[in-house]
Amino acid sequence: MARMDYSGVAVCVPVTVPYSRYSLRSAHWFCGRALAELIKGAGIVKDEVDGFCIASFTLAPDSAVGLTQHLGVSPRWLDHIPMGGASGAVALRRAARAVQCGDAEIVACIAGDTNHVDSFRNTIASFSQFANDAVYPYGSGGPNASFAFLTDHYMRQYGATREDFGKLCVAQRDNALATPHAMMKRPLSLDDYLNARPIADPLCLFDCVMPCAGSEAFLVMSADRAKALDLPFAEILSTIERHNAYPDDPIQIRAGWAMDVDGFYDHAGVGPGDIDFLQAYDDYPVICFMQLEDLGFCAKGEAGTFVREHDLTTGGDFPFNTSGGQLSVGQAGAAGGSLGLVESIRQLTDQCLGQVVEGAQIGLASCFGMINYDRGLCTSAAILGRSGR
């Protein structure tokens, strides 16, 4: 059966609750403030939002259910997706179908987390059984060591260099300099990158995201409703989602995008060459390289060459992570999975906070999450287009 398109669905009101390294606020606060910004931006009242899709690591012991009572809302459609960095496009595609089917009229997709001094420790402690049994006992509390493995293997397998990863990180920092809520706004040179203190070989400080507090959110509604509210909106051309792809690969060199990429572009009716900007999931640069390959911008193993041959700054020939990405803006827990999507909506609706991709018509936002044991299990992605393009 052919996949249904997403016609008539609008994605609008991109919201970022500004990030902070640590916060005394709870995840409930970050989600609640995001909702306040969403309804203010849309010019609606709280009760008009009848669907919620929530992603958060630090709501515990609450889930999205408890959040409804905190925020005093009575939605008729509620989802809580435990997919961390992959939650952005997953929330989008579920919300879009709910709106298309009439199960909800306006869905608020909110991803937010707080960061107390012990939040990271607590998140790690209850992250997964496989990590408790087979990763943390080896000293790698958190994803640094896991991405060090993937980076080490990738570099030796495909000949990518620290300079290649550095070029990507430096370009993203350039992009972040104009983003008001970016946590890291001091310019980064390639020398700074290469000479940073080692964290887990071959990763050094600027290869690793900084955990912080914050939230990202957007609304999904019908295009008619968006027009009635006079809201600029983006359209959805296609989305994909995949979990635990290629389980027989002994170590991760590719992820779910590679399984779904052909159908993804077919469904959207565009190809990689039509994409005006890429917002890739970037907790560590090696996963950006895999996205460049798995999403069809270059062949497997050639991302290093691709990065060398392109300018990844927002004004360059391949605008990439135009807000600065998580590596420069910060990783606000599960909000990291929506950062690229929210930035895409901004670029396509002329609501940029920072640098603008001139004339952008079509953008791709890609998400990745959940190092359950030795690899990231969840991937998702969405191609968005400017309305009426």
Binding site: D133, A134, G141
Partner: protein, 413 residues
């Protein structure tokens, strides 16, 4: 090649002794199956009884065919190192004290990919051999070493955290002037122990072993009577802060059971030596050893109890002796739990009958002391915590696992 560990220097009396920490010990019930295998030195993983898929990390349902019969089976321990890293930063306090720390991902020939501690001389692409070892918290971890280890491999700092290697450590052997005591003393010296302290009761009682021990370098004799609290406390005051490996070789065997030989004096002596003796040693040497569990690369690491295989199942021919050994075994389990917070591991060696005067009436096979000592050293070097020594002890372990009622009726060993 592994970097040679410098021999221990004199301890700075002013420097703070690093407090012991434990590696992350939060394990699922399934993962404790790995601990059971590591404790006895096996390399076994769950293997699906239906489809043969080797599972890792441990789980309750086969990742291929969804079968739920996943018995633990010995599997091929070889693999290829797919990726490596050296941690320079760790959030966990145990590793924070010990970085840099090397880890790798090994693609096992048997199928799964495993995250493992990585020896200093392993490089990406190399063939490696995995083992399951117990870490300082007593939980199983994967350890990858070169297929053909080079010189000084036992000096690898990460391996030394997993093993209880006697090299450069100070050892106290309780009841050391027996034949087994002499064999242990020699074996520890051969394994590179820095000093061996030999405790012996009844100093008036001469023995050929005592004369042999007196002639050894790096060996010091101390009076020690485990039935006398004052004697144990006095020695602990002198040696408590120095002993890095304790070997409780207390041994008092007399034939007889409950009905055929109701003798309260003998029974009381057995309990006093085997049970109260261990209790006295634990209460005096336990605290200083536990406090020195993280005292550098030569800190306190192991407490060995030489127990009888009859600690696990009563042999009526030595009925009250077996009972006193069972009491000691239970206390040793308590000791294991209490010492674990200091990273000091308790090793129980269950031995079959020794070839000595008190086993005169027992038919062979009987154990030569050198063999027992060798097995204990091997267990310390490999980081095992339970070992059955000799054919009798091994048979008892197997029969107990198979049918405890059968061996209860028919022990005859």
């Amino acid at each position: 090649m592994t970097t040679r560990l410098p021999p221990p220097g004199k301890k700075d009396p002013v420097a703070r002794t690093r407090a012991p920490t434990q590696p992350p010990g939060n394990r699922s019930r399934e993962a404790q199956g790995l601990t059971a295998m590591a404790a006895v030195g096996r390399f076994a993983l769950q293997v699906c009884a239906d489809c043969g898929q080797v599972q890792y990390p441990p789980r309750q349902v086969c990742g291929r065919c969804l079968g739920d019969d996943l018995p633990w089976r010995d599997v091929d321990a070889m693999g290829t190192l797919l990726a490596e890293t050296k941690l320079h930063h760790a959030n966990d306090l145990f590793f924070r004290d010990r970085v840099p720390w090397r880890l790798g991902v090994v693609g096992m020939d048997a199928g799964p990919s495993v995250v493992a501690h990585l020896a200093e001389d392993c490089r990406q692409g190399a063939r490696v051999k995995l083992s399951l070892n117990l870490d300082r918290g007593g939980h199983a971890v994967m350890n990858a070493r070169p297929e053909n280890p080079g010189p000084n491999q036992e000096d690898d700092m990460q391996l030394r955290e997993l093993s209880m290697d006697p090299k450069d450590r100070r050892v106290l052997i309780v009841n050391g002037k027996t034949e087994l005591g002499l064999a242990l003393t020699n074996a520890f010296l051969t394994a590179g122990a820095r000093e061996v302290y030999v405790g012996h009761g009844e100093p008036w009682k001469a023995s050929p072993s005592l004369e042999a021990i007196k002639s050894l370098d790096h060996v010091t004799l101390f009076p020690l009577d485990v039935t006398d609290t004052d004697s144990v406390e006095e020695l602990a005051a002198v040696l408590g802060g120095k002993v890095e490996i304790m070997v409780n070789n207390s041994y008092h065997l007399r034939p007889g059971g409950a009905v055929d030989r109701m003798d309260m004096n003998i029974t009381r002596e057995e309990i006093d030596i085997h049970y109260f003796g261990l209790l006295r040693l634990a209460g005096t040497f336990g605290p200083p050893m536990r406090a020195r569990g993280a005292d550098g690369e030569h800190g306190a690491c192991a407490w060995v109890n030489v127990l009888s295989a009859y600690a696990q199942i009563n042999n009526p021919a030595f009925g009250t002796y077996s009972a006193s050994q069972a009491a000691a075994r239970s206390l040793a389990q308590c000791l294991r739990a209490e010492m674990s917070s200091g990273g000091v591991r308790v090793v129980n060696a269950y031995i079959g009958p020794l070839d000595d005067e008190w086993h005169q009436m027992v038919p062979p096979p009987k154990l030569a002391p050198d063999m027992v000592a060798g097995r204990i050293i091997d267990a310390l070097q490999k980081g095992r915590e339970d070992l059955a020594v000799g054919a009798v002890a091994e048979e008892i372990a197997e029969r107990l696992a198979e049918n405890p009622k059968e061996i209860e009726r028919e022990i005859k060993l």
